[in-house]
């Protein structure tokens, strides 16, 4: 087993969840790394869409922002903002929406708006951006986040975008009929919603990670699937391609 960092395992596990036929709405940061890693390994024909309007983009380095020139230069086509949100996202054409989270609860609801009271926030976060509609319009949602207690909270300060409902009442209660969050991929494990409770439950632990470690960093009383697997470790190819991508990215952004 090659040597790897937890963040690398997270990105690689997320990449594996994507297939060649997916049309993926990509958030910036870890989702972008995972989506492009998938494209550069097992899913060369995956369609990546960034909310800046770039469709079918194939960046050689990871963009720093959601709208770097590289995304447009390598895209099949670049459309306007209204068209992106109307025809492509709301039109129901996206199979996977890939989100990051500042706070997430056990039902996959996400907060990226405020810590504390909305009107008197302790920390004013950037806000929802595309997430409220990505969360409801894509076929399903993958979420990726560092596994930390301040992120994996029992109760969100604010619901920016819908998961399976604040009380796990399910999405239909909100008139939403897409699948919602089906995978939560962290640097410790992969979680999936329990079919009954809809609460995120550990499906596989990354190599070397204990149940205790997951419990320590999860703000809710975390459940484990009946048979928890070990996440297959990164392959040499996966690690090499990811590290090359990140090295190219670092060099390009430093030069900028």
């Amino acid at each position: 087993m090659p040597d790897f960092k937890p963040a690398e395992m997270m990105t690689i596990a997320a990449a594996r969840a994507l297939s060649n036929d997916d049309v993926c709405f990509v958030g910036i940061g870890a989702p972008s790394a995972a989506c492009n890693l998938a494209r550069l390994t097992h899913a060369p024909d995956i369609t990546l869409i960034y909310e800046s309007g770039t469709i079918g983009t194939r960046p050689d380095v990871l963009p720093l922002s959601i709208g770097d020139g590289e995304l447009c230069e390598t895209a099949l086509t670049t459309v306007s903002g209204p068209e992106m949100f109307r025809y492509w996202l709301q039109g129901g054409r996206i199979t996977i929406g890939f989100l990051a989270a500042a706070q997430i609860d056990k039902y996959g609801n996400i907060n990226t708006t405020v810590v504390g009271d909305y009107h008197k926030p302790k920390v004013r976060l950037p806000g929802g951006g595309g997430a409220p509609e990505i969360a409801i319009s894509c076929g399903e949602i993958f979420i990726t986040a560092r596994h930390q207690k301040r992120v994996f909270v029992d109760k969100l300060d604010f619901i920016t975008s819908l998961g399976h409902g604040p009380n796990g009442e399910g999405r239909a209660a909100f008139g939403v009929h897409t699948k919602g969050p089906t995978k939560l991929i962290t640097d410790l494990c992969v979680m999936e919603p329990d079919p009954e409770t809809l609460a995120f439950t550990v499906a596989s632990l990354h190599p070397g990670v204990t149940r205790e470690a997951v419990r320590d960093e999860t703000g809710w009383s975390v459940a484990f699937a009946d048979s928890v697997e070990e996440t297959p470790p990164p392959t040499d190819e996966e690690l090499t391609v990811l590290r090359d991508l990140q090295a190219r990215t670092k060099a390009a952004h430093a030069a900028g």
């Binding site: 770097d68 903002g81 950037p126 920016t160 975008s161 900028g256």
Partner: protein, 282 residues
């Protein structure tokens, strides 16, 4: 009818205290030079709207120009939070600002409705999301055919739209290429529009028929400001200065450092200082 004039004149003509202002650009083509000019002219009590307020709105807020912000994602893209915005929202410095917060889909639809002359936009949005609890400008309508409840937001119709674009021609027609965002919509939705451009060319006709072109009679003022989108980028001219976006996090970290930077790079500078960032036309 577009007139070509210096940026200082264009801003003085169109932007008044208390005006509502959309300075659009989705990562690409952000009108930095024009924002600096608005700050230099000392405009106050502005309502500023933008899907992705980033450095320029952080600067305008930090300099006290802004009374209200309408937005959907207020971050330093790829870097983190906006520290001057946070200071205003969390601590009221240098003044308290009102915020009206939406999602990207809502803002894009609201500009589209503004350009289309409609009073509101409808879309399938905000379901299960809490913004509608805190923003009274999120309502709903019922589809008269299916009974489905759809979200509704008021159209955005700023007093002034300011954008940066690649080229104008001598008649004042404007070409925008690459990531075009909602710039066309912002200009068409606005009562007045200023466009800064990298260069003026003889004629935009004869390029591809389906490009994003604003006819001269939809724009009021055109100002030639090479490099005017820096540290954002202009496709075909110069790349994004990613290093500066990272630096901004430190520059804006405390009030004094911020004010010193603004004094040197904005108050004591002019649009011509952007020229050193300009690149070659495509």
């Amino acid at each position: 009818m577009a007139r070509i004039m210096p940026l200082g004149e264009a801003v003085a003509q169109c932007v008044t205290d208390g005006a509502s202002l959309a300075m659009e650009g989705f990562t690409h083509l952000i009108p930095h030079a024009a924002a600096h000019e608005v700050i230099r002219q000392g405009r106050k009590d502005l309502t500023v709207m933008r899907m992705t307020p980033d450095l320029i709105y952080d600067q305008m807020i930090g300099m006290g120009c802004v009374a209200k912000l309408i937005f959907s994602f207020a971050g330093n893209p790829g870097v983190g939070l906006l520290r001057r915005l946070r200071d205003a929202v969390e601590n009221g410095w240098p003044r308290a600002i009102e915020i009206e917060e939406h999602s990207h889909a809502a803002m894009a639809n609201a500009y589209e409705a503004g350009a289309a002359g409609l009073p509101c936009a409808i879309f399938r949005g905000y379901r299960g999301a809490e913004l509608k609890r805190v923003n009274p400008n999120i309502k709903s309508v019922i589809c008269p055919f299916t009974g489905e409840e759809l979200a509704a937001v008021p159209a955005l119709n700023p007093d002034v739209a300011i954008i940066h674009a690649q080229k104008a021609d001598k008649q004042g027609n404007v070409l925008i290429e690459g990531i075009v965002g909602v710039q066309k919509e912002a200009v068409l939705a606005a009562k007045a529009a200023i466009v800064t451009v990298e260069e003026v060319v003889e004629d935009l006709r004869g390029l591809h028929p389906n490009l994003c072109i604003l006819p001269h009679w939809t724009v009021d003022c055109i100002s030639v400001v090479p490099g005017g989108a820096h540290p954002s980028y202009t496709q075909g001219y110069y790349p994004r200065d990613n290093a500066f976006y990272t630096e901004w996090d430190a520059i804006s970290a405390d009030r004094d450092g911020f004010l010193a930077w603004m004094d040197e790079h904005v108050l004591k500078s002019g649009p011509e200082d952007f020229a050193r960032h300009a690149g070659k036309g495509a």
